[in-house]
């Protein structure tokens, strides 16, 4: 089975999704990531979905799970690069990605993680 590579950039783990993920690949990614956060002591996770053409409720839930899990391991998660068509579709689907921070692109996502955690930076999707 294909595995999504996890890159370490400073104290951030970078996941760049380049293919249409199979469910099993997505589940494996969650496991790998939890392990890596602990092993590397990373403080942040960036999921780059610039290349992703569709996000259904399964993948959406994966983002939320990763964010919740990272938080428990004292790391923050940002999803970056969501395409307009994907965002419009997610809204129609009714998925709010509660608790997941988002940023327009990789650079802004990195900057968001570098800033001190104010609990709700601009572009947050925290459902509270």
């Amino acid at each position: 089975m294909e595995r999504v590579p996890i890159l370490k950039v400073g104290d951030v783990l970078l996941i760049s999704i380049q293919t249409d993920l199979e469910d099993r690949t997505a589940l494996a990614l969650q496991e790998d990531l939890a392990e890596q956060i602990v092993r590397t002591g990373a403080r942040g996770v960036v999921i780059d979905i610039t290349a992703v053409e569709i996000v259904d409720s399964f993948i959406g839930r994966m983002f939320a799970t990763i964010a919740a899990m990272s938080r428990l391991l004292d790391a923050r998660t940002v999803v970056v690069g969501m395409r307009p068509a994907v965002a419009i579709t997610l809204v129609e689907l009714g998925l709010s990605l509660g608790g997941v921070h988002t940023a327009l692109n990789l650079e802004k996502g990195m900057r968001l993680l570098a800033a001190p955690d104010p609990g709700g930076p601009p572009g947050t999707m925290s459902g509270r």
């Binding site: 970056v80 969501m82 395409r83 307009p84 965002a87 419009i88 997610l90 809204v91 129609e92 709010s96 990605l97 921070h101 988002t102 940023a103 327009l104 692109n105 650079e107 802004k108 996502g109 601009p122 572009g123 999707m125």
Partner: protein, 280 residues
Amino acid sequence: MTNPQSGGQAHIVQLLSTRQDAALDRWTELAGATLRGRTTQTELRGELRELLSLTLASLEREDDTARSELRAVLADMSGRRARQNFTPKETAVAVFTLKQVVHELIEDADEDQAINEFVAFSRYVDDLGLLTFETYAATREQVIADQAEQLLELSTPVVKLWEGIVAVPLVGTLDSARTQVVMEALLQTLVDTGSESAVIDITGVPAVDTEVAQHLMKTIMAARLMGAECVISGIRPQIAQTIVALGIEFGDIVSKATLADALEYLLSRNGVRIVREVVG
């Protein structure tokens, strides 16, 4: 779509075939009367010659190839005229005059059997005329749709107000389709320019319906999912009433009275303060 039926018109076909040139002259003369110089006589004669020979072929052989070719040529002619701003009546009349041509031929020849066939022939020509109407309407619709789309593109400017802040000033009545186009353009601009803030200014919008209000809402939610923030400005009292009455949840969306207020708000969120310098 109507399907021209020929149904045994051997005598008329015979008559038209033997006097083809005379018939064509007369047809060109009658049809040309309504065209007021927008088509030259030569062009018209050429068009009608093709129509006449295809009409004869399809009546004679009752074969589908000739018939569909005839329909294609008619549709072509009708579409061309629609784009040249002929009225649909003018186009159809050009076809209908063929009846008069045949009627005159029959009278000249004094042929009883041909007279009996005239009713069927007349119906056949009517069907052809109706076909031009259909094509005409379809072509005009396409022309109108194309123009509407061009207008839509022209009327959806997304402007940059500041580094990282863009605005869409909406003017006029918003329908669902236009709102959707504008909102998609706005979201794409956020990506292209890396802007994290946008103002949707609806000062120039007199009223909105449920669907439009919902499109606006969904756009703001989509922008958030992408990591950007939208502020609405210039909501008129009537629109505010509509939104509340419709029970649309505007939730935690930021709304400002004017575009200037919205800009000031976003600037301060970005850490920019505007101070007036006291001189002297």
